[in-house]
């Protein structure tokens, strides 16, 4: 039995995983990363649009700060998020952007003077300040009050991933590529590492570590059509679920992105709409202002996706062999803008659709895009049930996104979450011993070996590809943008039957080393379990919140549902997860539930909301009118961060006022 020992084990080499690895290595901990693929191929590279951070350098970002970013994030989450976490996040986002500049990211910078932009389908000239010249620029994204999304053309994820991976290489962090973690080693209380399988040789290895961080991304590929890379299959979530102890949070919160191309589901960035692109229907009519007169194309993603679906249901979609779609029109941005700031979009249009987006409209429709749910952690990124098991990025339900994530907040979460949680992971590594229990390791490895043997030598009859396709279709048909009781019941029943069938899998290809069919078989039964957490959670949640939209329960019901869904799978042979809930405490909130700003305000209020609002008014009044925003925030909801991350963020406006102050004095 091959055992590899390390202090800090990270599963997943995307931005979140690498950032945690860097934080561990910075403290001198032995650090090792496992990855299915070379690190630079991770799905983080696909993020085009950018990362939110309230730098406030540009004219359209003036007045932005942590408070505004926090409020946008909480409203975007439809009050489903953990507000402490959202605060930690908003506070550290500018630090992460600046750190990335130190590591080599060539952020697009502000050019002083006038420039023409498209706002609400009209060309507008904005004039950037001389003092802002050369500082980091930001573009507009949906659901934000200010232009806050920092970017490098439309290759932000690529730039960030390359800079962070280069940093990891410079620090000598080992990445074991083409290794797939398939089982967590644990004793019911503490996590000790994972059992992983080499995708080239088939060798099983135990990785024993003080801390194990799961950073494997989302679970989009349980759906038939997804913008996710094909490796985003939810195996990280399944690993946690299969411990029987750790919980997954809010798995039913699945975001659909408004503008993926038809039919293949490749994403065109929200930057298209942020930069001024429009949505049009079969008649060429710009329909979003009819539904959302204020925010139009730049309403939150869940809202735009639902409005598009509603509009297509009215017969306003464009017919195609793949079903109806709508148009994304970026022609008004002009060729020069497209060829510099939206070049990935241009390439995708050219290669996959054979069109020129400077001339032609792009066929788009809402497509599965992001997993708000994931491995439930506390604010330090650790599983409340399994000590030493951390999770970060899309894999986790750290819960700054609640039931809907804002564009530009996922890329931000990877590096900001990695920066914060990385420090807690390092603390854990410094304060805990490595526990080596070889019988526990042998047991976990034995279970995996038995599973593999039964897939190769067993007398099963089920085909992994067939089961996977059926699961993906069920999720697409019954657990989509709009959901309802009868369909969700169908999904749960269908998935349970698939889970039973998955116990009878067999592979035709009998190789024990590189064997893509075996890889698929090992994944598919885990994926079906993850799919069941999504479907069961959605069936149980009889309200609409963020991306979870129930046709039979259209109201956001704060009275009964201001709570986080938690799923556990304690009985390995059970056909569905155990669901329970944790309440979100309104009395602890800085921003009690209110109107989100879209459509009719139909929320059923929580009884504590009015009480908390009154309490907030009293607290603010007691502070007096001279209190600054930091004092006010502290009084309403203080939050913890590692000391090094506590300093305030300086902004251009602070610097200018300081200089003016100097002159005046």
């Amino acid at each position: 039995m091959k055992i590899i020992y390390t202090d800090s084990l990270v599963v997943g080499a995307g931005l979140a995983g690498l950032r945690v690895a860097i934080a561990s290595k910075e403290r001198g901990l032995d650090t090792l990363v496992l990855s299915l693929i070379p690190a630079k191929r991770s799905h983080s590279a696909a993020a085009q649009g950018g990362m939110q951070a309230s730098l406030g350098n540009t004219v359209k970002g003036m007045g932005d700060n942590e408070d505004v970013h926090f409020q946008d994030t909480v409203k975007g989450s439809d009050w489903g998020c953990d507000q402490h976490v959202a605060r930690m996040f908003a506070h550290c986002a500018p630090k992460a952007v600046r750190e990335l500049a130190n590591w080599g990211v060539p952020w697009t910078r502000v050019t002083q003077g006038p420039r023409e932009v498209v706002v609400n389908a009209e060309k507008v000239t904005i004039d950037e300040a001389e003092a802002a010249h050369g500082l980091i620029n930001a573009r507009d994204f949906g659901g934000t009050k200010k232009w806050r999304t920092c970017y490098t053309a439309d290759g932000t994820g690529h730039s960030l991933l390359y800079a962070v991976d280069n940093k990891a290489i410079a620090m000598g962090i080992a990445v074991h590529e083409r290794m797939e973690a398939l089982k967590i080693i644990h004793d019911g209380k503490r996590c000790h590492g994972v059992i992983a399988r080499c995708l080239i040789t088939g060798e099983l290895r135990a990785y024993i570590a003080k801390s194990t961080t799961i950073a494997t991304g989302g679970y989009g590929r349980i759906y038939e059509v997804s913008t996710n890379a094909i490796i985003c299959e939810g195996i990280g979530q399944a690993l946690a679920l299969e411990t029987g102890v750790a919980t997954l949070g809010n798995m039913e919160a699945v975001q659909f992105h408004p503008t993926a191309i038809v039919p293949v589901g490749i994403l065109t960035t929200e930057g298209c709409r942020g930069d001024g692109g429009l949505l049009r229907d079969v008649d060429g009519h710009r329909f979003m202002p009819d539904y959302e007169p204020e925010k139009k194309e730049l309403a939150s993603r869940d809202v735009v996706s639902r409005r598009m679906t509603e509009h297509m249901r009215k017969g306003k979609g464009v017919d195609s062999p793949y079903g109806p779609h709508l148009w994304l029109d970026i022609t008004l941005l002009g060729r020069e803008h497209i060829e510099t700031n939206l070049r990935e979009v241009q390439e995708i249009c050219e290669y996959f659709l054979g069109i020129d987006p400077a001339v032609d409209w792009i066929p788009v429709r809402p497509t599965q895009h992001y997993s708000m749910g994931g491995i439930r952690t506390n604010a330090t990124g650790e599983s409340p049930q399994l000590q030493g098991l951390f999770s970060v990025g899309e894999a986790a339900c750290w819960d700054m996104h609640g039931f809907n994530r804002l564009g530009g907040n996922s890329l931000a979460e990877t590096v900001v979450g990695g920066m914060i949680i990385g420090k807690y992971v390092a603390d854990f590594g410094e304060n805990n011993d490595l526990v080596v229990n070889t019988s526990l390791v042998e047991q976990a490895m034995g279970e995996l070996r038995t599973e593999i043997e039964s897939l190769i030598d067993g007398n099963g009859t089920e085909n992994p590809y067939v089961l996977k396709r059926e699961m993906q279709r069920i999720m697409m048909d019954y657990v989509g943008i709009f959901r309802n009781g009868p369909e969700l019941d169908k999904a749960v029943a269908g998935l349970k039957s698939l889970l039973e069938r998955s116990r009878n899998l067999v592979v035709k290809n009998k190789k024990r080393h590189a064997n893509p069919e075996l890889v698929e078989a090992l994944r598919v039964r885990r994926m079906i379990k993850v799919a069941l957490t999504v479907a069961c959670g959605a069936a149980a949640r009889t309200e609409s919140r963020g991306a979870h939209a129930r046709e039979d329960f259209p109201q956001r019901n704060d009275k009964d549902w201001l709570k986080r869904t938690l799923c556990r799978w304690p009985e390995a042979n059970a056909l569905e997860p155990e669901i329970h809930y944790e309440d979100l405490d309104v009395m602890q909130m800085e921003l009690p539930p209110g109107y989100r700003g879209y459509g009719v305000d139909n929320a059923i209020p929580h009884p504590d909301t009015a009480i908390r609002e009154a309490e907030i008014a009293v607290k603010l009044a007691a502070l007096g009118e001279h209190a600054d925003r930091y004092d006010q925030q502290q009084v309403l909801m203080s939050f913890d961060l590692p000391q090094e991350l506590m300093p305030k963020n300086e902004r251009l406006i602070d610097k200018i006022s300081a200089q003016l102050g100097d002159k005046n004095s």
Partner: protein, 243 residues
């Protein structure tokens, strides 16, 4: 979009880990569907005809660089190659040459890239102390930032290396990818290294002076990176170090 054709895929098959296995070409037939890419075709072949077929895809959108292979004689990204692009119904797929073969169409570009990054130290070497992350960032010329991004768009797919005659003849040659990355850091005003420093890693036959200027890198680069321009630029820089 063509429809109704039956395509023949001639695919290189070899499992280097299987004792006694010998490289061979195997043909598969598949009905073409509208919008079919090599990604779609290979997945269908594996699911429906031969579950042992090895190949790599990650993003399937031309972004990650995993799926480079030689398609009808030219190295390119398989995910964004539409089958309708080929008038003839025969499509031949070979693995990228010059990399360790994992099996069939799958090669280990990741191992090569990590090695070259370590050998050439392909990361930012900051001037002096790092900027404080709590205060306003150091300004950067917007044009410089844009130029850096232009050179940074490389996805490490390995096409340039596989299309390079020098690299095929001499394994120690750094290839266009390494040179492009050096050029990217050479341009970066935040990087402390000088032309003199870069001379030590690329001022030789394994670096810029080994290039035969056959343009295979630039002609095939899926991201249209200006490889030759950068190699020429670096050559002038390296020569100036000698003077």
């Amino acid at each position: 979009m063509s429809q109704g054709r039956t395509l023949t895929f001639n695919i290189f098959r070899f499992d280097p880990q299987q004792p006694g296995d010998k490289p061979k070409m195997v043909s598969y037939q598949l009905d073409e569907t509208p919008g079919m890419t090599v990604f779609i075709a290979l997945n269908r072949l594996r699911e429906e005809q031969d579950s042992s077929l090895q190949f790599d895809f990650v993003c399937r959108a031309g972004i990650c660089g995993s799926c480079a292979m030689v398609i009808n004689g030219l190295p390119t990204l398989a995910c964004r190659t539409l089958t309708s692009k080929f008038a003839a119904s025969q499509i031949t797929l070979m693995p990228l040459p010059g990399f360790e073969l994992i099996g069939d169409l799958s090669v280990n570009t990741g191992k090569f890239m990590r090695e070259i990054a370590e050998r050439l130290k392909l990361w930012l070497h900051p001037r002096g102390d790092a900027q404080d992350i709590h205060v306003l960032e150091a300004p950067m010329d917007p044009e410089e930032a844009a130029k850096l991004y232009e050179l940074e768009r490389c996805v490490e797919c390995g096409v340039c290396v596989s299309a390079c005659a020098t690299k095929q003849m001499r394994e120690t040659f750094v290839g266009a990818i390494g040179l492009m990355k050096i050029a990217r850091f050479e341009l970066d005003s935040r990087d402390a290294r000088s032309a003199d420093d870069f001379y030590h890693v690329i001022g030789n036959q394994d670096g810029v002076f080994g290039c035969m200027t056959l343009l295979g890198c630039q002609d095939n680069c899926p991201k249209d990176l200006p490889h030759m321009q950068q190699i020429a630029y670096l050559r002038r820089k390296m020569t100036s170090v000698l003077v």
